[in-house]
């Protein structure tokens, strides 16, 4: 429906580009895949509110991928949608991954509709990529592409040798999809509070999120400047205590700005990224349920260690501002976060057998949070159409309040089979 209306808009906006010659001919190709995903918790524990017992995931998916472009390329469209049966909850549902229409004129590209936007240079560490993620999907072993969620946006890009500009305006807010207590053990300090409400930012002109990226090559670097005005993707909480405790969850306002740079160096690729998160609803750091402002920095190095073996090393840190206020206003009984959260990661990827086998391992450990996450995976391409992957998500941590530590009871192994058509 949205594609159809977007196409109408497109056709109205640029009758010249969709001229008589092209109007009757919008060649469309249809592809897709069938996929089965399953994930089983290996710790033998079951969350108290859990559904599905040991299963974190059990589903069959049908992907439809429809794309087309006019002969000149001045108009194009893409639709990617899944229909899936969730065997754990026994329901059938849909997931509109992307659906946009676009047109290109001169140095401008415009896209309208749901689209996935990925910025920044980190591997699973996100600074200037402020767009929504699906962590539940990722931690339960769905393929990596499901980590990113689409945004319903207008995206305008300008390309030139001197400067490239990418602007994404999103009137409809999409938050991160966080692991659900129905499937995962999670740290929730407010679990006992009966009255909890959650609000998403209402659709209003002033709530339109705007992200901008300016980029060009500079001194052999791919250099980007980023800015974003919108909301944190994870809800904060405000606690009211009249007539018993009441939790209101909402997405606090956020402004970020930052930069990234990437180039060939030292026989590999080096990357740097930094950004400041300005938490507008908790400038002083006095609201314990809301995130403080912070700095995020990342340095990464990728190189080939041997034939078909590539390694990526990353160092990442979040530095909280207003830490003294945070400590002062943090209610008693809560374990305080550190001022600095540092994480190191290594990813190894080895291809074997004409790249029909891919072995990979991602290890991330935080010396400050004292927690770790390990994701080994073996994937195999049985033919051009059929592929399978087996992997595991393994968590450990000293405290159950940290990002990976809270997941320690959720170790799981996953299996994914995909047939392309």
């Amino acid at each position: 429906m949205r594609v159809a209306s977007a196409l109408t808009v497109l056709a109205t906006l640029c009758p010249g580009t969709l001229g008589a010659e092209e109007k009757n001919r919008l060649p469309v190709t249809i592809h897709g895949f069938l996929m089965g995903n399953a994930s089983i918790r290996t710790t033998g524990k079951r969350p108290p509110m859990g559904e599905g017992g040991a299963f974190l995931l059990g589903e069959e998916r049908l992907r439809l991928d429809v794309s087309g472009a006019t002969k000149s390329g001045s108009g194009f469209l893409l639709f990617k949608g899944d229909i899936f049966h969730d065997a754990v909850a026994n329901r059938v549902d849909g997931d509109l991954r992307e659906a946009y229409a676009g047109f290109r004129r001169g140095q401008f590209d415009l896209r309208l509709g749901r689209q996935i936007v990925t910025w920044g240079v980190g591997d699973l560490f996100f600074i200037n990529d402020v767009f929504p993620k699906d962590w539940e999907s990722f931690f339960s072993g769905r393929p990596m592409e499901y980590l990113k969620r689409g945004v319903d946006a207008v995206r305008l890009q300008y390309s030139s040798g001197a400067l490239n500009v990418d602007v994404v305006a999103t009137p409809f807010f999409t938050g991160d999809a966080l692991p659900s207590p129905k499937r995962f053990f999670l740290y929730n300090p407010f679990a006992a509070v009966a009255e909890q409400r959650e609000y998403s930012p209402p659709v209003r002109a002033e709530n339109t999120e705007v992200g901008i990226r300016l980029y060009r090559r500079m001194a052999a670097f791919d250099f980007s400047l980023h800015g974003y005005r919108g909301f944190w993707r994870m809800p904060g909480a405000s606690i009211a205590a009249n007539d018993g405790p009441r939790i209101t969850r909402f997405y606090p306002r956020l402004v970020t700005w930052g930069a990234s740079a990437q180039r060939n160096l030292l026989n590999g690729v080096v990357s740097f990224e930094g950004g400041r998160y300005n938490s507008l609803d908790d400038r002083g750091g006095t609201a314990p349920g809301l995130p403080n402002s912070q700095w995020r920095i990342l340095a990464a190095y990728q190189r080939q260690l041997a034939r078909e073996l590539t390694a990526t090393f990353q160092g990442y840190a979040e530095v909280m501002e207003g830490y003294d206020s945070y400590r002062k206003y943090l209610p008693a009984g809560f374990r305080p976060e550190d001022r600095v959260r540092g994480v190191f990661s290594v990813r190894l990827t080895q291809f074997l057998g004409y790249q029909n086998w891919r072995l990979s391992a991602f290890v991330a450990c935080s010396p400050t949070d004292k927690d770790c996450f390990v994701q080994p995976e073996v994937s195999h391409r049985l033919s051009d159409r059929l592929s399978a992957a087996v992997g595991a998500n393994i968590f450990s941590g000293k405290h159950e309040t940290t990002f990976f530590g809270q997941m320690a009871k959720n170790d799981n192994v996953y299996l994914s089979i995909r047939f392309d058509f």
Binding site: K71, P143, M144, S159, N164, R303, D384, F421
Partner: protein, 268 residues
């Protein structure tokens, strides 16, 4: 001493006498072969079908569009590669800025997450998309990376060829390579790659050569080529369909913009 001076004077005043022989050095022959094979025309566009066939005859197919543009002032080239098949890599695109004397700049676009990334360029020995060709085989090896020796001249089929041996100066995927380079087209018709134990490891053959016209010029092109791993029995057959040269691909096609949305006009 005086004899040398006389020879030098003859050489200086009679260049024709010396050049009449057209005795090319091995490096000059390889240089001409590289130019004919890797950079004919000012630009090129082709649809490439790669069949990866294992010893049991099981076949996998990669289909891509390749755009290449030469940049003036040396051997700088830019490539744009866009995958149509198989399904799990559909819309994946590579952008390569190739420099003669330093590591290439290489970017990949991963369509599932709409992400453009640089990739480490040192893996020139790694397989190109799982084929028997390495990245280096696809885009060429620096002339100065090897020592070249002209071994002999002989016929390969109907074609008179130079046979050149190239020995890498630093560690490489092969210990030596023998090339049969056609005297007329300058195309390598056959190459044998030997491993560290001096055993024949891979054999390249140009199986079908066509003269592709572009305006008043024609470019001899190996439209079918094979790389066979003689040790494993695996081979890759590549067919260049609808090759065209000097088509005027603009330089700005070779940028991140094309990775994110392939330039439709050049994909057909």
């Amino acid at each position: 001493m005086s004899t040398r001076i006389v020879i030098a004077l003859i050489a200086a005043f009679c260049p024709l006498a010396i050049h009449a022989q057209e005795k090319l050095t091995a490096a000059e022959i390889v240089d001409k072969a590289q130019a004919a094979f890797y950079s004919p025309g000012s630009d090129t566009k082709a649809r490439v079908v790669m069949d990866l066939i294992n010893a049991d005859g099981k076949k996998r197919t990669r289909v891509l569009t390749m755009l290449r543009k030469n940049f003036p002032g040396g051997r700088e080239q830019r490539y744009f590669l866009y995958f149509h098949e198989p399904g799990d890599v559909r819309r994946t695109a590579f952008l390569v800025w190739k420099y003669p004397e330093k590591d290439d700049d290489r970017w990949i676009f991963i369509p599932a997450v709409n992400m453009t990334r640089r990739i480490a360029a040192r893996d020139s020995r790694s397989s190109f998309v799982g084929s028997d060709f390495s990245y280096e085989d696809i885009s060429g090896r620096d002339l100065g990376a090897d020592s070249h020796t002209l071994l002999r001249e002989e016929k390969l089929g109907d074609f008179a060829c130079y046979v050149v041996q190239s020995t890498p100066k630093a560690a490489a995927e092969f210990s030596r390579k023998l090339s049969w380079i056609a005297k007329t087209s300058w195309l390598p018709l056959k190459e044998e790659y030997y491993d560290a134990q001096n055993q024949l490891a891979r054999v390249f053959t140009a199986d079908k050569i066509e003269a592709i016209g572009a305006g008043e010029k024609t470019y001899p092109t190996a439209v079918k080529r094979t790389m066979k791993n003689v040790q494993s029995g695996h081979r890759t057959e590549v067919v260049f369909e609808s090759v065209s040269y000097d088509v005027g691909i603009p330089a700005d096609i070779f940028t991140e913009r094309s990775l994110q949305q392939a330039p439709e006009k050049w994909m057909r």
